[in-house]
């Protein structure tokens, strides 16, 4: 699934990484717990989370995850945008809940990690 389609399905705004919207993403992983994200062995995935802080972006960077959807209408701040730019992260913001976002993406064909 392209990042562009993910943004459309989730009615999301793109706050960073507009140049990467045609990239294909194979899987999705929903978690507010970064400890769990760091245990994943796969990396071609989008992280869907309601945890809006710098560590969510740092975690994605370390785990070679290149796109994050922040759900529940949470807004990223300037220092997060700056870090996202530096790390080449694509950042989407969706007004939907974590459950609804995950459900819609699953229905649209995004695969689970496990």
């Amino acid at each position: 699934m392209k990042l562009r389609e993910i943004a459309t399905v989730l009615n999301a705004t793109i706050s960073c990484g507009t140049e990467r919207l045609d990239e294909e993403i194979e899987m999705g992983y929903s978690s507010d717990l970064m400890s769990d994200v760091l245990t994943l062995d796969t990396d071609n995935l989008v992280l869907i989370t309601g945890l809006v802080n710098l560590q969510a972006i740092r975690t994605a960077e370390m785990a070679d995850i290149r796109a994050i959807v922040f759900v529940r209408n949470k807004k990223v701040n300037q220092s997060m945008i700056k870090l996202a730019h530096e790390t080449g992260m694509c950042i989407l913001e969706s007004p939907y809940s974590l459950f609804k976002s995950s459900g819609l993406l699953f229905q649209a064909g995004l695969k689970p990690v496990y």
Binding site: S35, L38, T39, D43, N53, Q55, E61, M62, A63
Partner: protein, 152 residues
């Protein structure tokens, strides 16, 4: 941390590279900064992506541990031809029961650490998973040293 780059160029030929960082306990805004720097260096050295990911995840977990539990810490990184060795030393409370701390799910992290998305009791087990060798030395009331080794 701009000083990293001239140093890197200088020692590129021998491919024996030493890096040193310090960590401030409790400062979550900077957690991950040094792991990110090490990641950039390993990419410049053309290390395999899978290995880089393991190294930086282990280092990031260790960095978060220092920020979450200790007062301050230092990180010594040594890269040579076939391996990377990282020593993370902190001044902090130490670990009373290492075996228990290595158990997935066991955590003593505070509520504020959990609110940052950590403190699930996965840090030390995940360091073990992502390294080829790992040692812990700890003295209660003094601090902890975690040594990590990955082969390329």
């Amino acid at each position: 941390m701009n000083y990293l780059y001239p140093r890197l160029d200088l020692e590129f030929e021998t491919r024996n590279l030493k890096l040193f960082f310090s960590i401030q306990g409790g400062d979550f805004t900077k957690a991950g900064l040094l792991s990110s720097e090490v990641k950039k260096v390993l990419k410049q050295l053309n290390i395999e992506n899978k290995t880089i990911k393991s190294v930086v995840i282990a280092l990031y977990e260790a960095e978060v541990n220092v920020v979450a539990h200790a007062y301050r810490g230092t990180v010594d990184v040594e890269i040579d031809e076939n391996k990377i060795t990282i020593l993370v030393s902190d001044e902090g409370p130490g670990i009373p029961d290492v075996e228990l701390a290595m158990k997935p799910g066991y955590s003593t992290a505070s509520t504020s650490v959990r609110e940052m998305g950590f403190g699930a009791g996965m840090g030390l087990p995940n360091i073990k998973k992502n390294t080829d060798e790992m040692w812990i030395e700890t003295v209660v009331g003094r601090g902890t040293r975690v040594k990590m080794l990955n082969y390329f």
